[in-house]
Symmetry: none
Subunit: 421 residues, 2 copies
């Protein structure tokens, strides 16, 4: 099955917004064996939308659009494609009721906005794609030659939810019900996540595997969390693709060793929380330059409350002294960015919060505040638990990147320390 | 002048790479008054490239492509478009010499790779766009009906450099030689950032302006920070465009009122820090469900240290009791997610940290832990300063979105409270 994607919106065409929806759609569709052969972006103009959709229908007969489903006047997708399919727009009462219910549950004040009714107008004979993540419903429209257009919202969160819950099942069914997944060849990939090692050092460590594993493409994807290794297989049936990937992943894991902390979109915070949970350990934090980023990262994981107790954001030295009992002498002698202060912050947080492990971060995030002895990017990370240890990091990047790298490195210190016992 | 962009590459079509080139091209071209009317992405297949380029030439006669200029076998852009223009490919000695020189300066070891000769093959009669940032040169090709295609590399750094140094001057000249900058019309936009109001309610509040201001397009861009309002002007000379935007912005600000907190990419955290700095106020935080997100957001702003002192991440109730002195009675009577506890957290943080204002957040981020009385998304935000006030929010979205919206709402409470005195 071959599909075209049309992303709609002036903000995309003018370059105000980078189009992430198209990439997400392509990956999700490829994963079920659907090939994207052509992608188009047009602005919020009826004639441009009409021409793009009809050209796409002539080429493949299967089109997914994003954008232009909202309540405002620049949202033209539904009426435009309806008239291309020669359908009247009709008010769907079920959508109105759903939106009114949602309005109530969100405890929005004031009367139900009249502009919402525009979102309840749908082309005659359309299938409604339920939006559980926002108010604008999606639309699936067939013509008599079994050509179809599926319209999704442009807000990424809403588009992703609707794609997974509503559209993908429809497309898989359309692609030939059961068995299609087996028959079709797919493009699949698996990703190993590494941290604490530079891209070039990792490449050296991988040796010949750096150029590919068992004939599978290997891509190095460096980011603030570390270097991801993505293996990709093409042109095999789903089952064979998975087997080939599994073998390559095993080989790659052996060579990469301890720097691998997970696969796909694994989050090191979640992994550390699980390791602590299995060992009945509780976590606390004491943050200076990261200002709460580590705590925020840990609590972004649902269910973190049985492991993570809390922490102190000791940004100003007065807070380090008063709330973490770091002595003025220690601060004067070593400075706030030092092994001694990092260790003191961690110990105090662990004892004060009644945790078994505490993590402390203190450093120079920049862009200002660096000195010859303590340059921007210098960060001390300490953990206090069964043992107390501290590491000095020299991180690069913007202020925010230094903070993100420090947070990841702190979590990795806990992972490695727990790995060993 | 109207132009189409065609980005070429399997990695774009498969969604492995997010297409940032298209957005950059659109912004740069719009700035010199060139309008992008259509954007296409195709894979590394000759027939797809041919069809996309000829369709685009039929529509506008002016096309910029990116990608497929490299030395490898999947780089098909030049030969494919050459045959579409019925041109032979010929070896360009100047390019060979340039690449050999570059090879030396980069101190590359080994012999000059033969695959590089592919990059020196250009269509007969083509104009070469010099690449000072990589090895693959760009190409400008005219046909006898003065329709043209400009081919840029896909590597963003190389594409951006070649666009600025080689292609934009050619296009400006093409658009009308000297004085073009004055005569040419531009596409410009300004964005007002609003928060604390739903898109549909904001549309109602704006009334007739929701459909456009003084004839300028108005786009509604909802996100976790609120709803951005983007005004766009087209078809005016630069100076007139700015005047028209200024007038429309003023009109829109009047109608939108207090929900407007800034323009363009303004960050509410930075705005609140500035408001406190001007009033010599210091900030502290006490965070439960956001777990440090508010502190992290404030400290992401360089120079926040003269306003932000720190805070307590009181995730577990034991920390609320021991570190913020929230009494067990209060917690038992009202629960952790309550006005009373939010106010107590804020007061204790302000007094304990020696701040003039403290912000407290406690809520149900979800996905679990909701009850009939305290559903997921219910968040209490309190500020304690000259006055103490608390607000109950009912937020939607994922766990992370609820936390982001709560953080933004807490900052907005401070903004509005400081606005009034």
């Amino acid at each position: 099955m071959r599909i075209e994607i049309i992303t709609i919106g002036d903000e995309l065409l003018l370059g105000f917004t980078i189009d992430t929806n198209a990439a997400h759609l392509a990956r999700e569709l490829a994963a079920v064996g659907v090939e994207i052969v052509h992608r188009t972006t047009v602005g919020d103009r009826a004639d441009d939308i009409t021409r793009a959709v009809s050209e796409a229908l002539d080429r493949t007969g299967a089109v997914v659009t994003t954008g232009g489903l909202g309540p405002t006047s620049d949202d033209l997708t539904k009426p435009t494609i309806a008239s291309l399919f020669a359908r009247r727009m009709i008010l769907d009462e079920t959508i109105v009721e759903a939106m009114k219910a949602r309005w109530k549950t969100l405890k929005r004040t004031g009367p139900f906005p009249h502009s919402n009714y525009a979102q309840a107008m749908i082309p005659e004979g359309a299938v409604i794609l339920v939006n559980r993540h926002g108010s604008a419903p999606g639309i699936w429209l067939d013509d008599d030659r079994s050509r179809w257009v599926a319209m999704l919202p442009g807000v990424p969160r809403e588009m992703r939810g609707m794609l997974a819950e509503e559209l993908l099942p429809l497309i898989v069914a359309r692609a030939g019900a059961a068995g299609a997944a087996e028959r079709a060849t797919v493009i699949r990939s698996r990703t190993l996540r590494t941290t604490g090692v530079a891209e070039s050092a990792l490449a050296d460590q991988l040796g010949d595997l750096a150029r590919g594993v068992n004939g599978l493409e290997l891509a190095f994807l460096p980011g603030v969390d570390g270097v991801d290794l993505r293996l990709t297989v093409r042109g095999l049936a789903a089952a064979n693709a998975d087997v080939a990937l599994a073998a390559a992943v095993m080989k790659l894991r052996e060579r990469a060793g301890r720097c691998v902390y997970g696969e796909e979109s694994a989050d090191l915070g979640e992994i550390v929380l699980d390791m602590c949970r299995r060992r009945s350990l509780h976590l606390a934090v004491a943050e200076s330059c990261t200002g709460g980023m580590l705590g925020s990262r840990l609590t972004s994981v649902a269910g973190s409350s049985d492991v993570f107790l809390g922490g102190v954001i000791a940004y100003d030295n007065s807070v380090k002294r008063k709330w973490l009992g770091v002595s003025s002498d220690l601060l004067d002698e070593h400075g706030a960015v030092s092994e001694a202060v990092a260790l003191a912050m961690a110990r105090s947080a662990r004892e004060g919060m009644g945790a078994e492990i505490a993590i402390a971060i203190t450093g120079v995030a920049g862009p200002d505040g660096g000195t010859a002895l303590k340059p921007v990017g210098m960060v001390w990370v300490a953990i206090d638990g069964r043992v107390a240890e501290a590491r000095c990091l020299h991180l690069f990047g913007t202020r925010e990147e230094v903070r993100l790298r420090a947070t990841q490195a702190a979590l990795d210190m806990v992972r490695r320390s727990l790995d060993t016992h």
